[in-house]
């Protein structure tokens, strides 16, 4: 049963793939990009789900997918035109199918009313072009479809049923046509099947068999007359010939007498009937000769006979002729002289045939028992990959520690150990990259869930929405992907519910009735950036400001820039919806979205233009495990600056630094004034301002393209560091992204450049969001790590 459970799991995995295929296909059809193969693929997806569901007796799923399939079949056979309205129904049906699949998988339940209503809608579609009466019956056929239960006992159940019937004698006349052999059916096997029903006598009527010279090897010349003594009924006998009923003449008649004596009588009657004919036509001698020689296209060429063994064609009819009498599992067969006279030589022919097959099999035997693997992928437990990543992380730390020890021992210069260490570092880095690539996945898996969400939210809000996605193949670490789903869901809901206007309002504003939501992913400066934009009304700034004032989030007279107002929506407890609608207002605000993004080491920002729409931009690290960083010293502390943020480093000259009263300094770099951030002061490592001339400036650039200069005491070097979460071990610290363990075993903090820049900015909007007194100095945590 374990194997069945594994297959069940495979089935549900496959269902997810099929559902994605289904949805993508339907969406392509909606966009008019579908060809015949797309429609076929859509049909196949539902068909496969039904097939598998039947095997696991998932009745609800079978019933619904059957009706769905019928409708799709109508689309496929072009009796139902895939109009936009039809496609809308099909898309909703695909959603319900997805629910049914998941309910079947997780043992949950589905709103039966909803799926039944959809089933009726689907049935109505597929019957639309048919006459009303037929339509009705089609529907009913759809509803009453019952899956067959897979059962190992079924056959056992049937056998006793046979035993209930009285024994009956049947006379069966069976004349194969050439088509029977052409389809690789074998008369011998059919006779064997018949023999399993009871006791039987087989006689072969070869009166129409021509002489060898006239024999068509692919022809059919024999008639079998079978007397069967069985408890089985006529249907069971007919079932034996189920596969060949078109390719043979068949008559099944109950014999007049069903007494055991009658059987013997029959037998002799049959012999009497057959024997004279054999003698008369002198066929008895020609038949064995023929059976030894394999038939050929030109049977009159005797020298070719031996080589014919290799020709598979024609073997089937020959073998059937050979084995019919030999295989009848009935001792009395011998009493039938005609078949018996041929038995010996026929069997010989058959054995030769089998040994030939054996040779071929020998030659072709391969080591594998499976066909070539369909695709070069393997499934690996995520735990194993994670364990590997942990180990590689340790390896990186270890390699760094080793390098440092060697360096401290003064061995590096000129020693072979130096180049050995370099190689080790190189290899470590490659291993790391490869391992991380294992975890990388396209964001597609998350993006794929969004079309459905959009449909649902659009239906609930009565808005008309089109989702456009791009960059689905952008790869990012699996952990990041998993955690993307919730914030993304919320933001899309938000974009439709709050961002897009109602259709009337859109038309009034001179826009298309259908709103567009763009979802786009891309790689930018070593991070993944995801943008969600709508072409709605944009942020209603007066309203946002009013709400913030009403809720006491900002003073009534606060002077805020547009950007600052837009960012107010990220404040805890902020909600612009007048009522808590079902869609966006599930107790989750944008503040929660922002927190979950931040927990991933990501950032989120909004830009909005009134009347044109809003764009939310999320930026996330590609991996949560490893970082290229520059190790620096600030006030005796070791810190790591992510390399992705660094533009350049420079030694400042005093003339370049200008003070703006108070604490604020800027530095002129190539005629541009750049704010100077004193990291030591900013993180409260020290109170006095650092001496610029004794320091190093690191020019960093934030996602928004804003440049800032970080002032640090010294640069130690560049290194790959393994990220250890600060939140998991301590708590979130503003300005600090995470921690790492250095080569000497000490803990160093990794700077969150973006947050650092934001919080130090003069009147920066984010600054107002993080109250200064709330910031914890990272010094506190030294004792924890």
């Amino acid at each position: 049963m374990d194997a069945m459970m594994a297959i069940r799991q495979t089935f549900f995995q496959e269902c997810e793939e099929q559902l994605a295929e289904l949805e993508n296909g339907l969406l392509a059809m909606q966009n008019g990009e579908a060809d015949a193969e797309t429609v076929n693929a859509v049909f196949r997806a539902v068909h496969s789900i039904k097939g598998g569901a039947g095997a696991f007796s998932l009745d609800d799923l079978v019933r619904f997918s059957h009706i769905f399939e019928t409708t799709l079949d109508a689309v496929r056979s072009e009796t139902l035109a895939p109009s936009p309205d039809v496609l809308k129904v099909l898309l909703r049906a695909s959603d319900i199918l997805a629910d049914l699949v998941r309910a079947a998988r997780d043992g949950g339940t589905v709103d039966a009313e909803r799926s039944d209503a959809m089933a009726v809608e689907l049935a109505a579609l597929s019957g639309a072009d048919k006459p009303a009466a037929e339509d009705q019956s089609e529907d009913m056929a759809g509803f009453s479809f019952q899956p067959v239960q897979v059962s190992f006992d079924e056959l056992d159940d049937e056998l006793p049923a046979f035993a209930e019937l009285p024994e009956t004698s049947w006379t069966i006349r069976f004349t194969p046509k050439p088509g029977l052999y052409a389809k690789a059916n074998e008369a011998a096997l059919l006779l064997r099947g018949l023999g399993e029903l009871g006791e039987m006598i087989v006689a072969c009527d070869f009166s129409t068999l021509p002489l060898l010279g006239e024999l068509d090897p692919e022809g059919a010349y024999l008639t079998f007359v079978i007397t069967l003594h069985t408890r089985a009924d006529k249907a069971a006998i007919e079932a034996v010939f189920e596969f060949v009923e078109w390719d043979c003449d068949l008559s099944i008649e109950m014999s007049a007498d069903t007494e055991p004596d009658g059987q013997a009588l029959n037998l002799f009657a049959l012999r009497d009937e057959m024997l004279p004919r054999v003698k008369e036509e002198g066929l008895a001698s020609s038949v064995p000769a023929m059976s030894e020689n394999q038939p050929e296209d030109r049977p009159d060429a005797p020298q070719a006979v031996d080589e014919l063994g290799a020709a598979t064609s024609g073997v089937a009819p020959r073998a059937s002729l050979a084995s019919a009498p030999a295989k009848a599992p009935f001792p009395e067969t011998a009493a039938s002289p005609a078949p018996a006279s041929r038995e010996g030589s026929q069997t010989g022919g058959q054995v030769a045939g089998e040994s030939r097959m054996g040779e071929r099999r020998e030659n072709e035997r391969r080591e594998s028992t499976q066909a070539p693997a369909p695709a070069a992928t393997i499934r690996v437990d995520l735990d194993r990959v994670d364990r590997l990543i942990d180990l590689v992380g340790e390896l990186v730390i270890n390699q760094a520690m080793l390098a440092q020890s060697v360096n401290e021992a003064g061995l590096t210069r000129g020693a072979a150990i130096g180049s050995g260490l370099d190689d080790l570092e190189q290899l470590t880095r490659e291993i790391q990259d490869s391992v991380m690539a294992i975890r990388a996945q396209p964001v597609k898996s998350v993006f794929q869930r969004m079309p459905r969400l959009v449909r649902e939210v659009a239906a609930m809000t009565g808005k008309s929405v089109r989702l456009v996605t791009s960059g689905e193949n952008t790869e990012v670490d699996k952990t990041v992907i998993e955690k993307l789903s919730d914030p993304l869901t919320h933001m899309i809901r938000n974009a439709i519910d709050h961002g897009l206007e109602a259709p009337e309002a859109r038309v009034a504003a001179g826009k298309a009735e259908e709103g567009i939501v763009h979802l786009c992913a891309m790689h930018r400066s070593g991070r993944i950036v995801i943008e969600i934009s709508d072409d709605g009304a944009g942020i209603n700034r007066p309203r946002v400001r009013q709400i913030a004032v009403d809720k006491g989030l900002i003073p009534a007279d606060a002077a805020l820039t547009d950007d600052e107002i837009d960012n107010l929506i990220f404040l805890p407890g902020f909600s612009t919806a007048a009522t808590l609608s079902d869609i966006s207002g599930r107790g989750v605000g944008m503040d929660v979205v922002r927190r979950s993004i931040q927990a991933l080491g990501g950032r989120i920002s909004i830009s909005s233009r009134p009347g044109k729409g809003s764009t939310f931009t999320m930026s996330l690290p590609l991996t949560l495990a490893i970082l290229d960083g520059m190790v620096v010293t600030v006030a005796g502390q070791t810190l790591v600056v992510p390399l992705t943020a660094i533009v350049e480093t420079l030694q400042p000259r005093s003339v370049a630094v200008h003070e703006f009263g108070g604490d604020t300094r800027v530095i002129a770099i190539r005629d541009q004034f750049t704010p100077l951030i004193d990291v030591g002061r900013e993180l409260a490592y020290r109170c006095e301002t650092a001496d610029v001339l004794a320091s190093v400036v690191i020019l960093v650039e934030t996602e928004g393209g804003v440049r800032n200069a970080l002032l640090v005491d010294a640069i130690q070097g560049q290194r790959q560091v393994v990220i250890k979460s600060l939140e998991a071990n301590y708590r979130h610290v503003p300005g600090i992204a995470a921690a790492t363990i250095l080569g000497d075993g000490r803990v160093a903090l990794i700077l969150d450049v973006e947050a650092l820049v934001a919080s130090s900015r003069i009147g920066a909007p984010s600054d107002s969001v993080i109250p200064r007194e709330d910031r914890k100095t990272p010094k506190e945590i030294d004792c924890y790590v």
């Binding site: 297959i7 495979t10 196949r44 496969s48 097939g51 067959v148 897979v150 690789a184 074998e186 096997l189």
Partner: protein, 121 residues
Amino acid sequence: MTKTILTVDDSRTMRDMLLLTLRDAGYRVLQAEDGEKGLEVLNHECPDVIVTDINMPRLDGFGFIQGVRGNDRHRAIPILVLTTESDAEKKDRARRAGATGWIVKPFDPVKLVDAIRRVAA
């Protein structure tokens, strides 16, 4: 001697189920995920029976059967078609393409093995 069965089905679930059933019944099982792959397998294997699905991408069951029957080396191999329900039209098309017999899905393991025995010596 162990008989070899080639199963052709685009559904992994179905391939796994066939594999499980047939292997338990003592057959050696080859797999292909569509008609094209099925014909490729036949380039270097000669199974005793072929079990194939109808609805498949690239080359469907009908095309696959025609491909097998059109090749002198393989045309004597019995082919069983998997149909989801007793769809008379599909069965008829499969038969005309040269199918030896059919198995109605969801298949019963006993009946599957029985059907194979019916077409293979």
